[in-house]
């Protein structure tokens, strides 16, 4: 049994999202709390900009929750950069205890899951969970300089410049986290760093199968089942993989990476990066949960746990996906 049920139902009482201009032009544009004019966000380097995005998102999510900074007991955050510097350096400017978590693009679920458990266990009252990704910082770390005149392959994805943050609390009103299925690290031997959807899809399959087996629920029991950033190809693969195992995903399934950017933005298979699931969950999904359009959501961000060193040494790409169930919940 891998699924954990949260009896005290910790509430998500404040959520905030911030994205770059290209992301703001996408289908979720009107739901995001803040769209930056420029990817540098007034900073000298892209790394500093990413850090500032986390600081901004965390401060505003606390404000939206109606709390003060002193009320926060713990900050949980992670990102894609080496030594998760965006999160840790953002934590430097706050006075909270801090746990840095890395789950690649599954980080939003990881921080929310750990945060919810700590609140559910009555150890803490308010935790703030966040994650971010930035196109320009990720590109230079994992790929090529921005100005290099190369072409992208059709399976590649575009790292989103986006950040999301939410406050999970013991009291207050808001959607509640009711169950968590932590993912195993799954590797089906995909070596192509330009095809992360195919590398991560098996991990999403594994987590979803465990989740449905444990809970005895069907995909139709959810108003929305959303994976993080499998992209167009990866989400099609996931549907195929699950069908092989006798699980059919219906029209309530979507992949945020696949639908994140507008057509014509030249993003090939869609968006990737921690910020994709973080920004959509903390804007669009939260809004729908709050106005009760969605009653029960299964949120499954997917992460590819590779590094450039491991890939260059010929290692394949392991994936991990964590699933959390968020329900609209009654007013307390």
């Amino acid at each position: 049994m891998r699924t954990i049920y949260l009896k005290n139902k910790p509430r998500i009482i404040g959520a905030y999202s911030i994205v770059g201009p290209k992301e703001g032009r996408g289908p979720f544009g009107k739901y995001f709390d803040y769209v930056m004019d420029h990817d540098k966000f007034g900073e000298k380097t892209f790394e500093k900009a990413e850090r500032k995005m986390i600081e901004h998102a965390i401060s505003h999510s606390i404000k939206k929750a109606g709390l003060k900074k002193e009320d926060i007991d713990l900050m949980l955050s992670g990102d894609l950069l080496n030594q998760i510097i965006s999160s840790s350096y953002a934590a430097r400017s706050f006075n909270f205890p801090y746990l840095g978590l890395f789950g690649a693009c599954s980080t939003m679920a990881e921080t929310m899951a750990v945060g919810s458990l700590l609140v559910d266990g009555c150890y803490l009252n308010n935790v703030v969970c966040s994650t971010s990704s930035h196109f320009s910082t990720a590109e230079r770390q994992f790929r090529f300089p921005l100005e290099l005149g190369n072409q992208r392959v059709p399976t590649s994805q575009w790292t989103a410049t986006a950040c999301g943050s939410c406050v999970i609390s013991k009291s207050g009103n808001g959607p509640c986290v009711t169950a968590i299925t932590f993912g195993r690290v799954i590797d089906f031997g995909v070596n192509d760093v330009n095809n992360m959807g195919a590398a991560m899809a098996p991990s999403a399959m594994d987590t979803l199968i465990s989740h449905f087996e444990d809970t005895k629920r069907k995909p139709t029991d959810y108003d929305l089942i959303a994976t993080g950033d499998l992209g167009k190809l990866g989400s099609e693969i996931l549907i195929d993989l699950l069908e092989d195992k006798g699980l059919k995903l219906g029209p309530n399934y979507t992949d945020f990476g696949h639908v994140y950017f507008s057509r014509g933005e030249d993003t090939m298979c869609g968006a990737s990066g921690c910020g994709v699931s973080a920004s959509v969950f903390n804007s669009f999904v939260m809004r729908k949960l709050l106005n009760k359009e969605y009653k029960r959501v299964l949120f499954v961000p997917t992460g590819a746990l590779m590094s450039t060193t491991a890939s260059q040494q010929g290692e394949s790409i392991p994936g991990v996906s964590h699933a959390i169930v968020v329900e609209s919940g009654d007013e307390k």
């Binding site: 000298k44 380097t45 230079r140 090529f144 300089p145 921005l146 100005e147 290099l148 005149g149 190369n150 072409q151 992208r152 392959v153 059709p154 399976t155 089906f188 031997g189 995909v190 095809n195 195919a198 098996p202 190809l233 099609e236 693969i237 195929d240 030249d266 394949s316």
Partner: protein, 151 residues
């Protein structure tokens, strides 16, 4: 089924599902842009010989390369060359302008990490292998020529 078999089947399945690039338009774009760059080079070369009638052909070649390298670096700096590259693919990578772009782009990218350890170190991160392979290849060819000469 063991993991190895499972991975093999999965990779075959993924391979069959991958969207393909259409070769004809890519080749055409590449041919057009590559051809224009070469035409430009020839034009500069001819122009130089007209303006400076006393210049030797070899000096004109060298100067043409300098002009092309400058142009490509300049276009990289103002953020145009990557757009050309996106359209042209190999057409703008193979000529010397592509080499220039591969040195200028990391130089711009890493200037925030300092002149020496940022820019200077990273400048050849993409062009470096080309130089190493070029030098090593020429040595090998030279050696073969030498051996043939001795025989």
């Amino acid at each position: 089924m063991n993991d190895k078999e499972r991975n093999k089947i999965y990779n075959q399945y993924v391979e069959a599902k991958i969207p393909r690039t259409r070769p004809f338009p890519s080749l055409l774009n590449s041919f057009l842009v590559g051809g224009i760059i070469c035409l430009l080079g020839q034009g500069i070369n001819d122009l130089l010989l007209v303006i400076f009638p006393t210049m030797s052909e070899q000096s004109a070649w060298a100067l043409t390369l300098v002009v092309l390298i400058f142009l490509a670096s300049f276009l990289t700096g103002i953020g145009v060359y990557d757009k050309i590259g996106k359209f042209a693919g190999g057409g703008s990578i193979v000529p010397i302008t592509g080499f220039s772009n591969s040195i200028a782009s990391p130089a711009i990218e890493y200037k925030n990490e300092g002149i020496i350890f940022g820019m200077c170190v990273k400048m050849f991160s993409i062009a470096g292998p080309v130089i190493v392979c070029g030098v090593a290849g020429s040595m090998l060819v030279g050696l073969i020529y030498f051996i043939i000469g001795v025989l």
